[in-house]
Amino acid sequence: MTNDSGATSYALSKIDFVARIQSKAVASHDDETRIEFSYIGESEAFVTRLYSLAKTKDVLQTAFVNLWDNYKYNQEYISFLLGSYTKAEFKEIAKKHAKPFKKLQRKEDVFFASKLFFSILGDTHLSSSDLSTLLDYDCDSIEKVMLDLVDESQPERIE
């Protein structure tokens, strides 16, 4: 809450916030410093935001690597379709690009990533196979997660 002097005051039992403490030179006195205390935000909101940013960076990094791997493979595949390689030559190249799907650890990760991709790409339709390409999980796991999440949050939508 804000008091008459414009400063924010807290009940002692509710203190839980993040702040910045800095020492600054006093302009008129070179040899003096003062301590400045700046309020940043409630701890929970601050940490949640920080976690969300870190998670966003992880998801985007994963998607970038997956898309890059796909790009490199597709370049080779296009060359094969254009006749640059024989089938046997391309099979050897394809083997080097082959990877298993990642094991899905937490279904919340798929939900978070899907929501992020939809918010970035706007109206673009993303199927579970598109999400599979971006996240490197197989379609079946993604479908199951989507059903679970909808089931938990909006049971009335499942008929």
Binding site: F80, A94, A98, P100, S114, S129, T133, E143, R157
Partner: protein
């Protein structure tokens, strides 16, 4: 011979005929537990139908425990996903086939070498909520 048009449904065979609109390769090859070598993912993004032309030998399920294995068994729906055991080469895709409509010529693709196709979205999207984009954006 079975027909699967409701989720979950899948087929496995050594040769599968795919009919649909927007049949596309879907990313780099994959290594899948229980299958020798790499497989080549394939998407059918609209009006998909996949039929077993030749059964697995030995006739067994390798990918899903609900896969149909009999010759002639098919799945159909809005979107399908699966893979081919062999590379899909130049000229493999044929224009025409059962997916032909007044506005789309339809596509036909024969895949071989240990194949799998799965129903991802069935025809009744209104009642079976598979991919809730709108819910996610709330």
């Amino acid at each position: 011979m079975l027909n699967g048009s409701a989720i979950p449904a899948a087929i496995e065979g050594s040769e599968i005929l795919i009919n649909g609109q927007d049949i596309r390769p879907s990313g780099y090859p994959r290594i899948i537990d229980g299958i020798d070598g790499e497989v080549y993912p394939i998407d059918v993004k609209r009006r998909g139908k996949a039929t077993i032309i030749e059964e697995n030998n030995p006739k067994q399920r390798l990918v899903r425990d609900y896969s149909m294995l009999d010759i002639g068994s098919e799945i159909n729906g809005q979107t399908l996903w699966g893979f081919s055991g062999d590379i899909v080469g130049p000229g493999a895709m044929l224009i025409g086939g059962n997916a032909m409509t007044g506005r789309h010529s339809g596509q036909k693709l024969n895949i071989t070498g240990g194949c799998f196709m799965q129903l991802v979205n069935d025809w009744s999207n209104n009642t079976v909520l598979i991919h809730p984009k709108n819910d996610l954006l709330k």
